[in-house]
Point group: C2
Chain length 137, copies 2
DNA sequence: TGTTGACTTGGACAAAGTCCAAGTTAGGAT
DNA sequence: ATCCTAACTTGGACTTTGTCCAAGTCAACA
């Protein structure tokens, strides 16, 4: 994630302690935190960080293409730092756990031209749903 | 949609004017209204209907499997009455328009067992994104 | 080590959804 | 027909999630 910070500095970002902490919190695999969760974890390291700054920073990271916004449930948006490797999400209907998965083939290919209704289609997001081993009856 | 009301009555639903109006508002193809939109349209016919009742009724319809909840953006949930024919969604990144589409093949088939991480996977929701003819530059 | 524009802050506000006590009513029982 | 009652609806308070802004702070360049 430190290479991320360098990349952003190269793009003219001012490297503040707040942004550094937010980037650090988002490091790792299978990370899909809500903005409030990011704020809580960031505040553990930098107590005076404000919610507004977390929202601002997440929005900027998304706009720069460094973080993905995922809407797996109609509730809070979640932020996924794994923006540079194509993947989809597998969500447990019991506990809400979210894992990154890699289906084979390009999901876009399944949509025939006749079904595209004149749209220029550029992306496909897939959410697989089921029960994780811990939630299975 | 009147057959829906009959089906629900058979399941022990009390058929109130509020529920009737909500079901009527949700009739049609490519309908993906938010709860507030449903409330506004229902209130046009039945002015005293409350937001709480709309939320209750939508929740019940979803629990009964008669309506789908879709989360295509991180904002309000949308309600899709087309629950009995498998389909996916195509969303315009410009204006937010949502259309029902029918990719070929079963999206579930693209996820190999090794990628299922021990989950029992039962569904796949696909959101295609792009620009509709009106929003294309 | 000063300066300055970019960044951060806290709080007010807005949007989306939940919950509850009190009032109303659909539909079976009489 | 009309009564009864559990089921349903209501309005409002409350929570969660997200946005906006004026005032204060600070990173990075000179």
């Amino acid at each position: 994630m430190s290479d991320l910070l360098e990349r952003l500095r190269g793009r003219g970002w001012r490297l503040t302690s707040q942004r550094r902490v937010v980037a650090e919190v988002l490091d790792g695999d299978h990370v899909h935190l809500t903005a409030d969760e990011v704020h809580a974890r960031a505040a553990a390291r930098l107590p005076e960080i404000s919610r507004a700054t977390v929202y601002n920073t997440l929005g900027e990271l998304v706009a720069l293409g460094e973080v993905l916004e995922v809407a797996t449930d109609g509730r809070a948006r979640r932020y996924d730092p794994n923006a540079h490797r194509a993947h989809q999400h597998l969500v447990c209907s019991g506990c809400g756990a979210i894992r990154d998965v890699h289906p084979h083939g390009d999901p876009l290919a399944a949509l025939p031209a006749a079904e595209r209704l004149g749209f220029t289609v550029t992306a496909a997001e897939v959410t697989y749903r089921g029960l994780c081993p811990d939630c299975r009856p």
